[in-house]
């Protein structure tokens, strides 16, 4: 066995060399840090960090400044809520003549997306949501939450809606003939409109007398002075002349009802559900664009991200589900129904898992 003294002596050399190495490393590092730093052009800086899914953009129009937070997310969801209520207030200045206790937007048993019989999900798809603030100077005059793209089934018992919700009704004359009495059928026949004719009409939020009423509307229908157009199966010239005369007035066209209670539409298709979504693309094929819900203290113009133009939302709570340009470049309504559905309503689709269909 080596003596303790020589043991200790032997221990010194490895420790000493380790210490020396450490000293050397410390001496080298400051040297590296002294290499001169050079300023860099802005264009090269974008390489530094990764892209982000969130960004902040600004906008300006007619004295109003906007700040928008964009979220680069794709959302697939199927959800139910017992109640969505925005703007429950009585104010004789901003809501004259409205029913006391009513709300700007009230939807009970609201649901997005549907459930199949085997409890698999048909999700409501949303892309690129954003939140935007409108400023007049440094005063916030409006806020909105919007979706770049939205597609799916929206269900609910709609009590009242404030906003811009165009509905397009398209179908054969059969449904209209079913509603008509003998005299009305005669007039339709003379005008060249047959059961096989394809007719279209634009509906919007109206009140009971057929006037456009986007505030706390409880009905959707053809407003006074609007009529039908025939896109096929009609006699040319004659039908145009006839339809030119036949206009909806007071919620009736030729005595046939043209205003429909919102609460009978228990499930509404948003976007073109007939177009399948391609998993490979980030965009949602067939989606409606420009959907938002906003709160504003006065009428505020918000930019439609799809058409790039500004549309005005009314003061209060407001839901905007506008017409949008589809893949073929045509302006289409987000909700498209046929005349049967218009007259008879649309039953609620199953939005609950298990045996229930609604109210879960």
């Amino acid at each position: 066995m080596r003596s303790p003294r020589s043991l200790a002596a032997g221990h010194r050399s490895p420790l000493r060399s380790l210490f020396a190495l450490a000293l050397l490393a410390v001496a080298v590092l400051p040297g590296a840090a002294q290499a001169k730093l050079e300023a860099l052009a802005d264009s090269e800086l974008s390489n530094v960090t990764g892209q982000a899914f969130i960004n902040l953009t600004t906008d300006a129009n007619a004295g109003i400044n906007y700040t928008r937070v964009n979220l680069g997310v794709n959302l697939d969801t199927q959800l139910n809520m017992k109640k969505l209520q925005l703007g429950q207030y009585n104010d004789s200045l901003t809501r004259p003549g409205e029913v006391a206790g009513s709300s700007d937007i009230l939807i009970n048993n609201f649901a997005l997306g549907t459930v199949n019989a085997d409890d698999s999900i048909n999700a409501f798809k949303i892309a690129n949501p954003f939140i935007e603030l409108a400023y007049e100077g440094n005063k916030v005059i409006g806020v909105r939450i919007g979706f770049g793209e939205a597609k799916g089934t929206l269900s609910g018992d709609i009590s009242s809606l404030t906003g811009n919700v165009p509905v397009h009704i398209k179908g054969t004359g059969q449904a209209i003939y079913d509603q008509a009495n003998v005299g009305q059928k005669l007039i339709l026949g003379i005008g060249g409109i047959y059961t096989s004719s394809v007719l279209e009409a634009d509906a919007q939020l109206v009140n009971g007398s057929g006037a456009a009423d986007p505030i706390r509307g409880t009905q959707a229908g053809v407003k006074n002075g609007d009529g039908l157009t025939c896109t096929s199966g009609c006699l040319p010239i004659l039908t145009d002349a006839a339809l030119g005369i036949i206009k909806s007035n007071g919620c009736a066209l030729l005595g046939i009802q043209t205003c429909f209670n919102l609460d009978q539409f228990k499930s509404l298709p948003v976007g073109n559900l007939g177009v399948a979504d391609q998993a490979g693309t980030a965009a949602i094929e067939g989606a409606a664009k420009g959907f938002f819900i906003s709160l504003q203290t006065k009428d505020v113009a918000w930019r439609d991200l799809d058409s790039n133009s500004f549309m005005t939302a009314l003061k209060g709570a407001f839901m905007n589900m506008p017409k949008y340009r589809d893949a073929n470049g045509n302006m289409v309504s987000p909700i498209n129904i046929d005349f049967n559905q218009a007259f008879n309503g649309i039953p609620r689709q199953d939005t609950c898992l298990g045996s229930a269909t609604a109210g879960c």
Binding site: A8, G50, N65, T67, V73, D76, L353
Partner: protein
């Protein structure tokens, strides 16, 4: 030097002699007898004031990829009644009988308060759950009003008036040259009773999963869009015109129901995050099984509610440039399926 080495060597000899008393590992049976236990903690006389610090949030970009710095100022936490942070006093958050907890416990021992006041189990059994909880709620006579003077928010909180805090923060967004958006948020009488985050490992998915609830009860939440004392923001009238006031507001945000719908959060191979709430009936093969799973989910899974008793902008009067949006609510939100995937903008 050599003496020191010799001493050390001898000391080592001594320690090794002591260390011969061995520790034995507990066998499985003994381990299973170990009950989870946790820490409770109470923040006594706490006061946070970051007025003398500069906090900046970076990496939020604008449309051209440039950084939009967000300055965080006027961050404070103190006792209720601070008049938006002007008179800060210390506050005790959490009670000795209902503290914050950090807990490792079995899933079958944890409970959540349902909207109707019944405690139910939401976490799966036979897993070890790591739970971080805020002061838990209290049912029965000892329960406190969650928002004073507003019964609709419930009376099953444990925080009394002395345990409710005032919290404030101000964000300055330098959105464009010459334009700074300011959001000055002040929350009065805040309580977060019943909030929690629970995490456990899901062996079938080979993943960390969880469930969470965030409860916010506030007597008042104001958002002012200017900096007090700046141009157009000096007088009380100017400040009021630029303030959004939410009175008597509460939010119960629930994500995940551990037994059949855990919250999944992962990052995919593209470096994007994915947040998912799976279909709770996915575990059932027959319609009867799925019905049972669905019934249990709808009965016991916590739901999301957001209620603002009064939302007012400015004076609340349209003729003076304000607006009163009245009562706003989103109630009983239950998510059957959710998948959120981020992508680059």
């Amino acid at each position: 030097m050599s003496a020191l080495w010799r001493f050390a060597g001898l000391a080592l000899l001594g320690f090794s002699a002591l260390a011969r008393a061995e520790m034995k590992a507990l066998d499985d049976q003994e381990l299973s007898g170990v009950q989870g236990a946790g820490f409770g903690f109470v923040l006594e006389d706490i006061l946070l004031d970051a007025n003398n610090a500069t906090i900046t949030i970076n990496d939020i970009t604008n449309g051209s990829g440039q950084n939009v710095p967000i300055s965080v100022k006027e961050f404070y936490l103190g006792a209720a009644g601070s008049n938006k942070g002007a008179n800060l006093n210390p506050v005790t958050i959490g009670r000795l009988s209902s503290p914050f907890t950090l807990d490792l416990n079995k899933g079958e021992n944890l409970r959540t308060l349902r909207d109707d006041g019944v405690w139910v189990q939401t976490t799966p059994s036979n897993v070890a759950v790591l739970a971080l909880t805020f002061p838990e709620r209290l049912t029965g006579a000892a329960g406190q009003a969650c928002i004073s003077g507003y019964a609709a928010a419930g009376s099953n909180c444990s925080s009394r008036a002395s345990e409710k805090a005032d919290l404030g923060i101000r964000f300055d967004f330098q959105v464009a040259a010459g334009r700074t958006d300011i959001l000055n948020i002040d929350i009065a009488e805040l309580a977060m009773d019943g909030s929690y985050l629970r995490l456990w490992g899901d062996s079938a998915r080979s993943q960390l999963v969880g469930e969470m609830r965030l409860n916010l009860y506030a007597k008042g939440l104001t958002v002012m869009s200017c900096a007090a004392g700046a141009t157009n923001c000096a007088t009380a009238a100017d400040q009021e015109a630029r303030t959004i006031t939410l009175s008597n507001m509460y939010a119960n945000i629930s994500l995940g129901y551990g037994k059949t719908q855990p919250l999944l959060f992962d990052v995919n191979s593209n470096g994007q995050f994915v947040l998912e709430l799976p279909n709770p009936t996915a575990g059932g093969t027959t319609a009867a099984q799925r019905n049972t799973l669905a019934t249990d989910f709808y009965a016991n899974a916590p739901r999301t509610n957001i209620v603002i008793d009064n939302l007012k902008v400015g004076s609340g009067n349209y003729s003076t440039g304000g607006y009163n949006f009245g009562y706003n609510t989103l109630q009983g939100l239950s998510i059957n399926y959710l998948k959120v995937t981020s992508h680059d903008l």
